[in-house]
Amino acid sequence: MDKVIIADNLSLSYSNDEAIINKVNFSVNSGSFVFITGASGSGKSTLLKSLYGALKPAQGSLIVGGVELSSVSRSKLNFLRRHIGIVFQDYKLVKEWTIEKNIMLPLIINGYEKNVTKNQVDSLLKHVRLKHQSGKYPQELSGGEQQRVAMARALSHNPILILADEPTGNLDDYSSGLIWSLLEGANTQLNTTVIVVTHHIPQTMNIDYKHFHIEYGSIHEVN
């Protein structure tokens, strides 16, 4: 099976400080669904950052989608990122753009045609139950609504890899259920690899998944 992610002796740190992730080895198969758990401050978001190339490996090698991230060129990294959908822990929506335009962003960057873009955004807005809010700006939405916008944006361009950082952190059970079924759908129907950081693995998962736990800088698989 193809590997989307291969970490070999990987260490991560911010500016020469002690390693937050320390010499870990793991890999993720293409099309798999992975949960990452760990205490607050254990380095879950840090690990995701390294996966989309915002934090370079301090040591070891990290290959994502066939690209070695410790020595990647800017244009190659841009290319890789165009095939990844990210849900950030702090959402990172563009304030001066409407919800609709925010969701469109990856489609615009990937150069999709206008009508394709429009249809895709309409269908996603329906899926995250925000159709009636499409013309609003992010700051006019509740935290949970913004989180759903971030999810819709991450899915919009049918990425090969989705990285979601606590995507249900601000949501009630009903909205959380929506998010999980969207992620499951992408995984089963489009064979998208999904990596989700969360504190609670939902009880209702209908698919096989892997579970990594981060503790004291190391990563181990939970069975």
Partner: protein, 270 residues
């Protein structure tokens, strides 16, 4: 509303820069127009013992644009009329020659000095007179006015640039966030900065149009035209094509420069 506010500060800054440039241009034009007027009124009269050919006279100083020989008739008429024709003819020959010189431009005191000295070196020339003292004061006043306007324009320019630099940090912060987010989804640098360049070009266009409207109004203002009339000159307050092109060029260059500074200063968040 929100987008109008975003445009406001750069547009205002650009308009004030364009305004000071145009005011400076108008004052400069007034001075040139006034100089031309002075040069055409300014006269130097030369008295010579013998006839001097036009070309010879012109070769004495490059300031001399034209030479007009004054007819002795008017002089003789004033002397007496009871002379007989023969004597008058004799007198005409013995009278010194009078020439009026037209100058190429309004001379500085130094130039007029050199001219006088140079002419007097010619053995035939006995006297050089110039008549321009009353014009001189207006001219000096205009020059002073130009200095004042220069200082004013430069001050406006510097203050505005300082304000823009201060705003720049806010804009940098504002645009940095969006550009970073676009970068996280793999947008190349040209796409990340496209919005910024589009915004600044739009601002430059708005500022140019506002300045255009302002000066179109001023150039049709009766009061302004009267002021120029009073000192006897005609000045183009705003040339719809040339001046607009210059101002538009300045506005576009400045705003593109600013946008480039923001792009260069762009730092990606980690």
């Amino acid at each position: 509303m929100k987008s109008i506010k975003n445009h406001f500060s750069l547009v205002i800054a650009l308009v004030s820069i364009l305004f000071s440039i145009q005011v400076f241009t108008i004052v400069d034009r007034s001075i040139v127009a006034y100089k031309d007027k002075l040069a055409s009124n300014y006269s130097v009269v030369v008295v010579a013992q013998f006839k001097i050919e036009n070309e010879k006279m012109k070769s004495l100083n490059s300031l001399i644009a034209d030479v007009i020989e004054l007819s002795p008739d008017s002089v003789i008429k004033r002397l007496n009329t009871k002379m007989d024709k023969k004597n008058i003819e004799l007198l005409k020959v013995t009278l010194p020659k009078f020439y009026k010189l037209k100058l190429t431009h309004f001379p500085s005191p130094n130039e007029i000095d050199n001219l006088t000295k140079g002419l007097l070196q010619n053995a035939s020339i006995t006297k050089v007179e110039n008549f321009a003292h009353n014009h001189d004061t207006t001219y000096k006043f205009l020059l002073l006015f130009k200095d004042v306007i220069s200082v004013f324009s430069i001050t406006v320019f510097i203050v505005t640039i300082l304000l823009i630099l201060k705003e720049l940090r806010i804009w940098q912060f504002m645009h940095n966030e969006r550009m970073s987010i676009m970068g996280l989804f793999g947008a190349p640098i040209w796409l990340r900065s496209a919005v910024l360049f589009r915004l600044s070009i739009v601002d430059a266009i708005i500022a140019s149009i506002l300045t255009f409207i302002l000066f179109s109004y001023l150039s049709s203002s009766q009061w302004i035209l009267e002021q120029f009339n009073n000192i006897g000159i005609e000045v183009v307050v705003f040339d719809n094509i040339i001046d607009f092109s210059i101002l538009f060029g300045v506005a576009i260059s400045l705003s593109i420069l600013l946008a480039s500074l923001i792009v260069i200063g762009h730092k990606e968040e980690v």
